[in-house]
């Protein structure tokens, strides 16, 4: 029998299922089955709702229907919430084609009884998360239980890519590849700009010879925008208003069920309130959904979407992926799309069935967002989608995985190293890093002297092993890379939890004060030890809407590029009536910009200069997203102030940044080029951003993942556990002082630069700026592009000053405000002190300075 014939025979087994459904297999499904039957690994890229689950599942199913016992298909899913839906989708063909075969899921939510059953034996199809899979690797019998696996499938790989959970997945797959070298691994991914890299990252050493299958049937996506009636009176940028809410309500009335996406949790709360105030009769028919709401609150919204009983759910990215809500027939996006892939992902939440178009209605909150929507549509049309950059060898995840492996079965370091290097993220792991990791999990390694009596893994016959029962339990409890933030939980007196807010928000509300959270008006009864007790407020009380910190998402490189292009097109032919409606609407503003200055683009760098009462302003528009601009702004301000001792303030948005100083700013191209130069970039950034302080704050996650901070076991409070609790920032200081070579410190610095400033992107931008021509324009008025930057002179929250300076300033202001000239307490003169250094340098509060002029 030829392989081809064998294939068609195997696939014939699937016939009954398709006949029953009345379906014909799609070409990409058959291609995926064929590739699988040829023993190939690969990545299937397809939009949601076209049958990609069947494409990757039926191949493995067809070869495992009749032979073999135990677990045959391992299915990894990034979301616990997705596991149930996935299971439903997999069971349908499984139960029809393979009598007696079962599929089960094991996630953090799995009830104990099922978990115990799964510990004994695994079903034919086993659905689990990266964390649960890691946990299984700590059990010695897992290798045996997995020995019959015929296929490993990773769902929603694009969600894992670029995260530590993705790295954890890569490491688990490396382990499975070492155990089962010939088993194909398949990933499922939405559209990405770097699909080949995504496949290489997923497959690691199994990449050569693998294939990529695309579902050619491009799903039709319709992107529409609500155009405001009077563009001149519409804010240019910045304001996140609800001005268009009445029009939104009209659209809600027309549809059965709407999913309304906003960009932040606070916006979700604001829009929910706004919709209710416009349509009070919708109380109970609209709901909200965001990551800080308690599970039960979110379930209400999700169930309402599933059974179609809700008119509208206002949500954040917490509903971006996963669960299939078929009744949803309208998607609305409020505010900037931020990225093309993100907008498409959200659009894809409607029209989940094959063949139906996805439709998204965009609601701008300022004029420039009209351009963003038009640009996103154009970029989506030409498929210029964002890339997701994989992380590079995070050592915290590596040491966690090594301990996981050492618990599961003792390992030889050389063998293990080969296995680790086969994961893409660690393919360039240096020997020094490897030795450090081994030391970290065993006895302190090279820094042995700093770690007397430390031991985690011990070495027997050359193999690393962990067999201390307490350590094993401790480790199992802390597997995973998600670190929950210490937040304040909001609950009623009867114990019902609503969700969580940040401490800084609740700290600003006095007992008896009002707040709006989870769509409810609440009164704060008590705030004690991370629990805020609330009660429903009297009707119509004015309360503060909950706000959450956290970095605001920058516009993606691809979207800023698309914006730049669409503006360039406009500037070539401003009267082109066939242009997008958004561009026609925003034309008066662009025309003003063109008249007073010129239109910005990412070809040339537009720099505007103007004067005001405050002094001089420079506005630079590199079009590189908010985070990069924040870094650039801080750095240029720092470089200028180094040169001429001026205080320079910086502010930024997604299009550019501004610099303000009393004097000393000028449109001097040579100087500006020097300020923007990539030379000494890292050093200057570290100097001006106080990266040490930022890295200390960032250390929490790394300390958690690497096992320096233990997760408190839920419920049970182990007293001996309290002996070994400490805060991440304390650990950071201790490591810095006594083991400064510790790789985790360096990782923390690297991560914070990437997270807070998109360092890689920033570096590319400065490189690129050296080649871009500069357009220098002195303007009389603030232009439409400059105005938002000027109006939005946000204090950069990134600059970290030390506590003493800040407290000194606060006290100073307080005394100043009170008109006191004498500070409250001076150092104690009565005290006899022997130290020569402390005599003169004692800090005293200066009498309030009188401020002149401004």
């Amino acid at each position: 029998m030829t392989p081809r014939a064998a294939t068609s025979e195997t696939l014939g087994l699937l016939r009954p299922f398709f006949d029953h459904k009345g379906w014909q297999p799609f070409e990409f499904q058959e291609a995926t089955w064929q590739a699988f039957l040829d023993g190939k690994s690969g990545l299937l890229h397809a939009p949601t709702g076209v049958g990609k689950t069947l494409a990757v599942y039926l191949g493995p199913l067809s070869v495992t229907l009749e032979s073999g016992k135990g677990c045959r298909v391992l299915w990894l899913t990034p979301l616990r919430a997705l596991a149930t839906d996935t299971l439903r989708a997999l069971r349908e063909p499984l139960e029809m084609l393979g009598a007696g075969l079962t599929a089960e899921a094991r996630t953090g939510d799995t009830p104990a009884a099922l978990r115990a059953r799964l510990r004994k034996s695994l079903p034919h199809t086993f659905v689990t998360t990266p964390e649960s899979l890691s946990l299984m690797l700590t059990h010695a019998d897992t290798r045996e239980k997995f020995s019959n696996i015929a296929a490993i499938i990773v769902d929603e790989w694009h969600e894992l890519l670029g995260t530590k959970r993705g790295i954890q997945t890569e490491l688990c797959l490396a382990r499975l590849r070492a155990w089962l070298p010939s088993v194909p691994i398949w990933g499922l991914s939405a559209t990405l700009g770097n699909l080949t890299e995504a496949r290489r990252t997923l497959l690691g050493s199994a990449f050569p010879g693998s294939v990529e299958v695309s579902a050619a049937l491009a799903k039709e996506i319709i992107i529409e925008t609500i155009i405001p009636n009077e563009i001149e009176r519409f804010p240019w940028a910045g304001h996140l208003g609800t001005r268009l809410a009445p029009q939104v309500v009209q659209h809600l009335e027309k549809a059965d069920t709407t999913l309304l996406f906003t960009n932040t949790r606070s916006q979700t709360e604001i829009w929910y309130q706004e919709l209710l105030s416009l349509r009070p009769d919708w109380a109970g028919k609209i709901a909200m959904h965001h990551g800080s709401l308690d599970r039960t609150e979110r379930d209400i919204a999700e169930n309402g979407l599933r059974d179609g009983s809700l008119k509208c759910v206002v949500a954040t990215s917490s509903l971006d992926l996963g669960v299939d809500f078929s009744p949803v027939d309208q998607i609305i996006q409020v505010g900037s799309p931020k990225g093309i892939a993100r907008l498409l992902q959200r659009a894809g939440r409607s029209g989940h069935q094959p063949g139906k178009p996805s439709r998204i209605l965009c609601v701008p909150s300022n004029a420039l967002e009209l351009v963003e929507f038009a640009a996103a549509r154009e970029a989506a049309r030409v498929r210029a989608i964002e890339t997701r950059d994989p992380l590079r060898k995070p050592l915290d995840v590596l040491v966690q995985h090594l301990v996981t492996c050492a618990i599961g079965e003792p390992f030889l370091p050389d063998e293990m190293k080969r296995e680790i290097l086969s994961a893409h993220a660690y393919s360039d792991l240096t020997n020094a890093e490897w030795q450090w990791a081994l030391g970290f999990i065993s006895n302190g390694g090279k820094a042995l002297a700093a770690y007397p009596r430390y031991q985690k893994a011990h070495i027997t016959d050359g193999r690393y092993t962990v067999d201390d029962k307490r350590l094993i339990l401790q480790h199992r409890l802390s597997i995973g890379t998600i670190s929950s933030d210490p937040a304040v939980s909001i609950r009623f007196a009867n114990g019902r939890v609503l969700g969580s807010v940040e401490e800084s928000f609740i700290a600003g509300i006095k007992t008896g004060g009002h707040l709006i959270f989870a769509g409810r008006h609440l009164t704060l009864v008590r705030f004690h030890q991370r629990v805020a007790t609330v009660k429903p407020a009297v009707k119509n009380s004015k309360g503060r809407i909950a706000i959450w910190g956290g970095a605001r998402m920058p516009l993606s490189t691809e979207l800023t590029h698309a914006i730049s292009q669409i503006i360039a097109e406009y500037s070539q032919d401003p009267n082109n009536s066939s242009a997008y409606p958004e561009m026609l609407a925003v034309a008066p503003i662009l025309e003003l910009q063109l008249r007073w200055s010129c239109l910005p683009s990412d070809e040339a760098l537009l720099i505007e200069f103007s004067r005001s009462k405050e002094g001089e302003h420079l506005f630079l528009f590199p079009f590189a997203g908010r985070l990069v601009h924040e870094g650039l702004g801080a750095m240029v301000a720092y470089r200028i102030s180094q040169e001429n001792q001026q205080t320079v303030q910086a502010s930024q948005n997604d299009y550019g940044f501004s610099l303000t100083a009393r004097r000393g700013l000028a449109l001097d191209e040579a100087k500006l080029r020097r300020y923007l130069s990539p030379e000494n970039l890292l050093e200057d950034l570290i100097a001006c951003m106080n990266t040490g302080e930022l890295a200390r704050r960032n250390f929490r996650e790394i300390a958690r993942v690497s096992g320096l901070i233990l997760q408190r076991p839920p419920g049970r409070r182990d007293v001996s556990q309290r002996e070994i609790q400490s805060s991440a920032s304390l650990l950071y200081e201790v490591l810095q002082r006594y083991d400064p070579e510790n790789e985790l410190l360096r990782q923390s610095e690297r991560e914070i630069l990437e997270k807070q400033l998109e360092f890689t992107r920033l570096y590319r931008v400065t490189q690129d700026l050296t080649r871009r021509p500069f357009h220098l324009v002195e303007t009389e008025h603030l232009t439409p592009m400059a105005f938002p930057l000027w109006a939005d002179r946000l204090q950069s929250t990134l600059m970290a000053t030390d506590a003493a300076t800040r407290l000194g300033e606060m006290l100073h202001e307080l005394h100043h405000a009170a008109g006191l000239d004498k500070p409250g307490h001076l150092p104690d003169p009565a005290l006899e002190v022997d130290s020569p250094t402390s005599k003169k340098r004692q800090y005293s509060l200066k009498p309030a300075r009188r401020r002149h002029g401004f």
């Binding site: 700290a507 506590a803 307080l814």
Partner: protein, 217 residues
């Protein structure tokens, strides 16, 4: 500074200690010796170094303020697993270098040790000359008497509404008890929820200041 008009002999020091100047007694709380060793014994890779540093800091203080006695207001030691031979050696050397009497008040952590290293003894509390009592847990305070205590590791949280809130170790005075900040370098802190009548002191550079009421929540 001297915060108590009735007890002018009590000075708060920016190093996180208190000095009773009438009897030359230096008081610190919560040193938690052997804490990082406890971590290591439980498989957490935390480096050593703080123990020697804390001994050195104590010696400097005693010399600088010409103290004639050092009193530890509880939790000198962290946990049984942290009492290593290295600790006993360093402690022996410290006591020799100290050259003034060292008095331990027993803390909850000390009590977990079956016996203290070097056959040291810890008293339940200690009375100073001026009628000030040193205890560990503020809950053990007796009415109408000034106490110096530890146990809480008090930290105050100050918000300026612009940047992230600052956390600073602090002295907290509440109902006749002055709670000292934790002295040990490898000790964390607990944010103390302010109560009516609290006085809070923090170190600002080289001196101690009392925080204005509006800064305390």
């Amino acid at each position: 500074m001297t915060p108590f008009p009735d007890h002018p002999e009590i000075h708060l020091l920016s190093e996180g200690a208190a000095l009773a100047s009438d009897c030359g007694t230096l008081v610190v709380a919560d040193v938690h010796l052997g804490k990082s060793a406890t971590f290591r014994a439980r498989g957490l890779a935390v480096p050593e170094g703080d123990m020697l540093r804390d001994f050195a800091r104590l010696l400097t203080l005693v010399v600088k303020y010409k103290a004639r006695r050092l009193v530890i207001a509880g939790d000198f030691f962290h946990a049984p697993a942290g009492i290593t031979s290295e600790l006993e050696d360093a402690l022996g050397k410290f006591i020799l270098d100290l050259a003034v009497p060292l008095v331990l008040v027993a803390g909850n952590h000390d009590r977990k040790l079956k016996c203290l290293p070097l056959e040291m003894r810890a008293a339940p509390s200690m009375m100073l000359a001026g009628g000030v009592r040193v205890i560990h847990d503020p809950a053990e305070a007796i009415a109408d008497q000034l106490h110096l205590a530890g146990h809480w590791h008090p930290v105050v949280r100050i918000c300026d509404g612009i940047q992230r809130p600052m956390r600073m170790p602090s002295f907290v005075f509440r109902s006749q008890t002055l709670v000292l900040p934790a002295f040990g370098s490898f000790t964390g802190g607990t944010i103390i929820a302010g109560e009516r009548g609290d006085r809070v002191f923090v170190a600002l550079r080289d001196s101690i200041i009392e925080l204005p009421r509006s800064f305390i929540r």
